[in-house]
Assembly symmetry: C2
Homo-oligomer: 303 residues x 2
């Protein structure tokens, strides 16, 4: 399965000349999921040649402007380009009011069905589920209701232990059931438990996106062992007071979460506009969690 992440925007609060407001595209086997949609996201997608009409699901973490103000423009663009395929939006119910009001006032009559899924940020829930992936919310600690998102590949089929199964001459038509976990009873009535016949399949890939949030360890169990954790690191540690006051994290906070959750890789982002050079944030995070990288707009990361 391919899990590719493209960062469209990694700035916090205000866009800068070089960094845009929060938005990401997660491409799972060519299904495109948009995570947050700050101002300018549609232009970033054009720039990075992302076929944005293929987005069917949009996840908005919370209703601070830097995470959703590019959405209306994108929804109008979908319409103007003749989209008829439905689009699903997952967010705080306030966003539905904001969208509905603007559609009404502009007298737009969208060509496509817009299906809104309200998120209750109070607890973690599976909000999306298809044949290859599930998306679960992660409760964040921010000034207004906010969630992160955990994208997890569906558990893979178990692998048949070839040497065992061949020796036993199990008919090929039984293989699919066994891969899915069934036991097997042979012609003489002897039962073989599934774990005699198979080994577990490869570990499902997972991507956790945590922005915006103050420091909290509450969601560590949920993101345990994720292949990639995107975590906000708005400030460096010398601005810890600012971070605490504003319900944001420092690069040390983000790295501490990554360490405690035992993730494979940490990507920091949501940088304050005050930082031109981001390397000090990276170096600081690495003192706690070595496998840290900087979110960089337009780069495609294979998870």
């Amino acid at each position: 399965m391919s899990f590719k992440l493209t960062i469209l925007g990694c700035s916090s609060a205000t866009p800068t000349l070089y960094r845009h407001s929060s938005a990401q595209i997660l491409n799972v086997n060519e299904r495109l999921f948009l995570i947050d949609c700050g101002e300018g996201a549609q232009t970033q997608m054009r720039k990075f040649k992302i076929k944005f009409q293929r987005i069917d699901n949009i996840f908005i973490s919370h209703l601070h402007g830097d995470h959703y103000l590019g959405l209306m423009g994108l929804l109008f663009t979908f319409h103007l380009l003749g989209r008829t395929k439905e689009i699903h939006i997952y967010s705080d119910p306030g966003l539905k009011k904001i969208i509905d009001m603007q559609i009404e006032i502009s007298k737009a009559n969208l060509l496509y069905p817009l299906i809104f899924h309200s998120i209750d940020s109070a607890k973690s829930k599976v909000i999306y589920n298809d044949d290859i992936i599930t998306v679960r919310t992660i409760h964040m600690d921010h000034r207004i209701p906010t969630v992160g998102f955990l994208f997890t590949e569906k558990p893979k089929e178990r692998k048949i232990r070839k040497e065992v199964i061949e020796k036993m001459q199990i008919p090929v038509k039984e293989y699919e059931k066994i891969k899915k976990g069934s036991d097997f009873t042979d012609a003489r009535g002897k039962l073989y438990k599934n774990d005699e016949l198979t080994i577990s399949g490869p570990k499902p890939v997972s991507y956790a996106c945590c922005s915006d949030t103050g420091y909290t360890e509450s969601y560590i169990p949920l993101i345990k062992g994720a292949d990639m954790l995107y975590h906000e690191a708005t400030f460096m540690q010398d601005k810890l007071k600012n971070a605490r006051e504003k319900f944001h994290c420092t690069s040390i906070d983000a790295a501490t979460i990554a360490l405690k959750a035992g993730v494979k890789q940490l990507m920091i982002g949501h940088y304050s506009a005050r930082y031109n050079d981001l390397n000090p944030l990276l170096e600081e995070a690495k003192t706690v969690f070595e496998n840290t990288i900087l979110a960089d707009e337009g780069v495609v990361y294979n998870i």
Copy 2:
């Protein structure tokens, strides 16, 4: 008086990789007026080094997304950068609802007063007035309530006819009153009418901004003789049917208005995303009105 126009965005409907949604900055003697505020306007202002905290008045022509979707982001940025000076917004009352709802949902507590002035698009009215300029709405013919804006310099003082006034030995302290139009009575009681003493001052500069609109000659009297007319020219003449259906203009329409209104210069803009090369639109307009130029983002035009 200096009248400088910077185009921040000249695309219609959807932004493209090279053109942004509608937005303009008019700089009148270093007072900055923002006309429309499509998505990305704040980033364009950073790019063109416009000191956007000096904007005090924002005029929004109508509530199609490409003319206002950059406004919320700019308003939040003003706040985040610590603005305390009031900001005035002039638009259809629907915009106030859109702004208020988003401020409420994001729990923003703006540091500055936001003063909203509702525009009744049905008739042309003076909506702004200071010591150097007036702004008047222009009724446009579009699918939803829409206005253009006419910026006119205040009438300049009359010029004293030096040869007359010196011969008569009028005291210098009387000059200011005479320049403002007063008559003068000398020591012997003889009255001199003002037009014996003065000639009219230079013609006030004016800038008319007409976007979006279908073709109508209704506002020609209002914009007569303007120094610069920005007029939408969404399509070329071969798309006249599209233009009429969508209440937009062709380049020939825009040039016809310019010709009939006897303006000094026409700037066309609000180009459909289908045009990569804009020169055919320019050439077409010039067949009707020679002194036409293309709106180009970032260029500063002296009016």
